[in-house]
């Protein structure tokens, strides 16, 4: 087997998964030497009643741990914000908290990580802690409870906080930012609507697929990606058919976590490069961008990494399909399996799961990606860090070509790809 000359792998977050693992929170806090957690979440999570599930298990189990003594803060905006971070840090200090529980998706976790830096380092200026290696010691205990099965941000060591006043984004990277514990509880994702289940699962799939097929892969990230894909293959459509399938929900949450581990250790490629850009320019949710772009990324890179892509047919298609498909057709079969998943999800969500960018609409039904924005998207993509890990070099003309096909929903003409 081929091995990279050098690689690093780290998956340091204690991950606890099950149908009733929230009940362990008091015990976990005790183990971390904490008594009064600050719970950080956002409005959507609060309104879905998920915080009640979290707080009720804490009240019932440890009387002294009344949530009124700690604090629940729910004003995290979709885009983590410096003012909010500072305000929450104030609440943390005022109430004498000694740990943070983040309940939500990526922005909630980013905010929690920001608050943790402020309260642990007594920082007045977060800017001093940006970049790599600025944090020198463990922070306060942080528990992450994801409420979607997509981002895997509960296992990543980065945080992005926007300073809207100064119009800049601050990036933090440190192993000390990793949560101490991630709790994957099926109750947290049980009520996700079908379209979000579909989009976030495809987002997780894109983490795994890109981790496996792009340049910074290593044998352990491969194994995490493979496990994640198997779980998605066996569970995604069961959950779409039966949304209250607890076992299936948990498997998808675990798959998203495994994908997050794979992706944060192997980085991603052009699906993320273009997806980030579509998200930034048109405010399209991450998972939706990933679902649409994933087959195109594989198609575009096929002449470079067909070997890796073809290996994915086993975890994605299963033994029968893998064995039945001749070796030189497997990579293309993988692409068609993914297109087929998108197609099925489109129908199962009553056309809400977009197959191409022209089908993406906001809740009011307005198109979100106007065709004339594609040029802006392609240009912006050139500045994204993930572009370095893409197997084939992606220039702005090729990015534009891919985006046009992804907008229309037509396969790439692979003869036109500029091959380096």
């Amino acid at each position: 087997m081929e091995l990279p000359a050098y690689y690093e792998f780290c998956c340091r977050v204690k991950t606890i998964s099950g149908h009733d693992v929230l009940e362990k929170i008091p015990e976990i806090l005790g183990g971390l030497g904490a008594r009064l957690p600050l719970i950080i979440t956002d409005k959507g999570v609060l309104e879905a009643g998920l915080i009640d599930v979290v707080t009720s298990v804490m009240k019932d189990r440890v009387p002294c741990l009344r949530i009124s003594g700690g604090s629940v803060e729910s004003d995290v905006p979709p885009d983590s914000d410096l003012t909010v971070v500072n305000r929450l840090a104030g609440v943390y200090r005022e109430k004498g908290c000694d740990a943070i529980i983040a309940v939500g998706g990526g922005s909630v976790l980013d905010t929690a990580k920001g608050v943790n830096i402020v309260v642990s380092e007594n920082a007045t200026d977060l800017m001093a802690f940006t970049g790599t290696g600025a944090l020198k010691r463990p922070l306060k205990p942080l528990i992450a409870i994801p409420t979607t099965s997509g981002t895997g941000s509960e296992v990543t060591l980065v945080a992005v906080i926007a300073d809207h006043e100064k119009r800049r984004k601050m990036f933090f990277t440190s192993y000390f930012l990793l949560p101490d514990v991630a709790l994957l509880d099926s109750r947290m994702t049980l009520s996700l609507p079908p379209a979000i289940t579909a989009a976030t699962a495809m987002g997780a799939l894109s983490h795994s697929v890109e981790a496996y097929t792009c340049l910074a892969k290593n044998p352990l990230s491969d194994a995490f990606a493979r496990s994640a894909m198997e779980l998605m293959r066996d569970n995604l459509f069961n959950v779409m058919d039966q949304p209250d399938d607890k076992g299936g929900r948990l498997s998808l949450a675990v798959a998203a976590n495994l994908s997050g581990v794979a992706f944060s250790n192997a980085m991603a490629g052009m699906v993320h490069t273009l997806g980030h850009s579509v998200g930034a320019v048109c405010r399209v949710p991450h998972g939706t961008c990933m679902a649409i772009l994933l087959p195109y990324g594989l198609e575009y890179n096929l002449h470079k990494n067909a070997q890796f892509t073809s290996e994915l047919l086993l975890p994605l298609g299963g033994e029968q399909i893998f064995a039945r498909t001749p070796k030189h057709h497997r990579a293309e079969k993988v692409i068609s399996v993914i297109r087929d998943w998108n197609e099925r999800l489109f129908h199962l969500t009553k056309n809400k799961h977009a197959r191409c960018f022209k089908e993406v609409t906001d809740p009011e039904g307005n198109a979100m990606v106007p065709r004339d924005k594609l040029k802006d998207i392609a240009l912006k993509a050139m500045g994204d860090g993930s572009i370095f890990y893409n197997p084939e070099e992606l220039d702005v003309d090729d990015a534009m070509m891919v985006l046009i096909h992804a907008w229309e929903g037509t396969p790439l003409n692979r003869d036109l790809i500029r091959k380096g």
């Binding site: 087997m1 340091r12 192993y175 352990l220 675990v254 033994e319």
Partner: protein
């Protein structure tokens, strides 16, 4: 794929593996918040040409480094306590263990002693009443074959046994340049410990995707590279390095599951045998797997994927996979047997075990574990391994 149910997984180990991995030591220490590490190793290793070079390299990186090279072949309490004093008086804030076996056991318990600032370690043992919390930064650099516990949550110092995920190193640096040729039987012993630990994590019963990922990778790398790592040929160093990385991963998997039947039986055999625990595990592994394949809750056939790759896995019908797995393990052992000029013990008789010792061994195991899962099978496994009974692969 087995669905994840209630499950906890933790592997605090960051693995840096490959060419010039050691150049990252200062960066990794800084990332753990450490500035003044104490490096411990053994005099035996210090005599090999590569180790002084490694230490010089670390010294030249500008980091203040304390060095202690008298750990010895066995982890001793006296050494731990002497080192703890040295650590505190020297103002050190992190530990680097360079070597294997005894060095790693010593480093883990030294870390416990200096973090807790105590000489009384008994309450922290597996039988004690104190839990082990977050410890100081600890980096491990594997440099020779060991006993299979190096990166695990377990540590043994004399007759004290410790077990906590907190004992595991924060970073393991696996660098091909650190390895020198060594006694092949010692190398096989270390690799067989790792292979057994990974295999037993992978086949269950407590199978979960996190353990699977570490175990899968370890199995794949050991099966592909072990024979070359022994050979001394051109690709020797690269293969030896791959096996060392796999040993690290197997340790992470092992720390998250209960010890399996091969591990336990080998422990019972090891009380009387003339060879290491690792070699005993190698002798027993195919027989244990043959037995487990008859039980529910074990997935012996699934080993074919990491061992033989997707092609062979997919074209082998389900009912033939177990047989194929056992063949591959036996072929691996036979290749090792040949490469050691037939020095590698292949049966329990080869390691000095007599037939009348088997019953007491099985009884000892039944006393020490809840072996109800395995039942009567234990004695049968030992009897078959005694003489190298051929396995019926159909």
């Amino acid at each position: 794929m087995v669905e994840p149910e209630n499950n906890t997984f933790l592997s605090p180990v960051k693995i840096n593996a490959g060419t010039k991995a050691l150049a990252h030591v200062p960066f990794e220490l800084a990332a753990m918040g450490a500035e003044r590490p104490l490096l411990i190793t053994t005099k035996v290793l210090g005599k090999k040409r590569v180790i002084p070079r490694v230490i010089d390299g670390l010294r030249n990186s500008g980091m203040p480094l304390g060095i202690y090279d008298d750990v010895g072949d066995h982890a001793r309490l006296e050494t731990v306590l002497r080192l703890a004093e040295l650590f505190q008086n020297g103002g050190f804030d992190a530990i680097i263990a360079l070597g294997s076996g005894s060095v790693m056991h010593t480093a883990k318990i030294l870390n416990l002693a200096v973090t807790e600032k105590t000489h009384d370690l008994v309450p922290f043992t597996a039988k004690g009443d104190r839990t082990i919390g977050r410890l100081k930064p600890y980096m491990a650099i594997p440099a020779s074959s060991g006993d299979g516990y190096e990166t695990t949550s377990m540590a043994f110092v004399e007759d004290l046994a410790f077990s906590s995920l907190m004992l595991m190193p924060g970073v393991v640096m696996v660098d091909p340049e650190v390895f020198a040729p060594e006694d092949p039987l010692k190398a096989i012993s270390g690799a067989m410990s790792a292979l057994t630990h990974a295999v037993e994590g992978f086949v269950g019963p407590a199978k979960n995707p996190f353990v699977d990922a570490y175990a899968y990778t370890a199995i794949q790398m050991i099966v592909h590279h072990l024979a070359d790592a022994m050979g001394g040929g051109r690709g020797w160093k690269a293969a030896r390095f791959a096996v060392a990385a796999a040993e690290t991963m197997a340790g992470c998997a092992f720390s998250n599951v209960k010890p399996g039947l091969t591990h336990l039986l080998a422990w019972a055999v090891g009380q009387k045998a003339t060879c290491s625990h690792g070699l005993c595990m190698g002798i027993l592994l195919p027989y244990v797997l043959d037995h487990l394949s008859t039980l529910n809750d074990f997935f012996v056939e699934s080993l074919l994927l990491p061992m033989a790759g997707p092609e062979t896995f997919a074209i082998t019908a389900g009912e033939f996979r177990t047989g194929k797995v056992l063949t591959l393990i036996q072929e691996l052992q036979y290749a090792l047997y040949e490469s050691t000029q037939k020095m590698l013990p292949m049966t329990l008789e080869d390691v000095g075990i007599k037939k009348d010792q088997l019953k007491p061994m099985a009884a000892l195991l039944a006393d020490c574990t809840s072996s109800d899962v395995y039942g009567e099978g234990c004695l049968m496994i030992l009897e078959r391994a005694l003489t190298g009974d051929p396995i019926d692969l159909n």
